[in-house]
Symmetry: C2
Subunit: 147 residues, 2 copies
């Protein structure tokens, strides 16, 4: 079994993608984060779902969650308002997280070794210089425990 056999499929999100659309992708696929590529298809950064949540909640409510009650608009309205006119590049964390790469034809054990070495929950699987998909730690465990 090789890396390309167990990749997670997900829609391409680039730094130019609309931030609200990226939030919907995270929500629909229940992803803890998404690999963002640059315009050439190379992995550029991870956009964690928790970072998107930060953008929707006003900072005075983050400082004092008991103030949440004073928000008189819905979360969906806030999300549309805060994310709708932004691009993914505008909502990325200040400190970008690298995604360690593996090759499509690496074995499962090689992918596990890369994941373990970099203590990363996510590996970017590359083929001919482009992002083919990602492998999460739980997906890798599922493949590893199968036999």
């Amino acid at each position: 079994m090789h890396a390309e056999d167990i990749i997670e499929e997900f829609p391409v999100v680039t730094v130019e993608t609309n931030a609200l659309e990226a939030a919907r992708t995270l929500a629909e696929h229940r992803l803890p984060g998404i690999v963002v590529t640059d315009s050439s298809g190379k992995p550029y950064a991870i956009l964690p779902a928790s970072q998107v949540v930060r953008f929707i909640v006003p900072s005075y409510v983050q400082d004092d969650p008991s103030l949440a009650g004073v928000l008189n608009e819905s979360m969906a309205d806030r999300a549309a308002d805060k994310l709708g006119d932004k691009k993914v590049r505008d909502v990325l964390p200040e400190h970008l997280t690298d995604v360690p790469p593996a090759n499509a034809d690496d074995t499962i054990i090689e992918v596990a070794a890369i994941m373990a070495r970099f203590r990363s929950p996510l590996i970017a699987v590359m083929k001919e210089g482009k992002l083919l998909g990602v492998i999460t730690a739980s997906r890798l465990l599922a493949a590893a425990l199968r036999h």
Copy 2:
């Protein structure tokens, strides 16, 4: 909508649970990590799936993934061998990650505020001092974008 309406259900994993069983739970539910409780049902730590991967891969292969080919046993055999006689407490990371708590009757916006404030991808939802379940950032986004 309140915290208890959108919690993720998952099997209880305590520090006493068998580590291989915990690995299977992570794999089957495709969880990036699992909240581990102490014997009283209080959240104690997070066991990330990537940490379990570290336990399966020998350190000399982590140092040089190209050595993966010399392993002449399957990942499943290694996993059974390395995890089967251990408890979850034996495979937890050295530095434990706190899981910020919310109450079962907190609103979605309050949960979002706690998540944003602690930059946490996971919130522990408590009821009467016990862990009821967790809310992930992507689950929260899904609830927030629905209306």
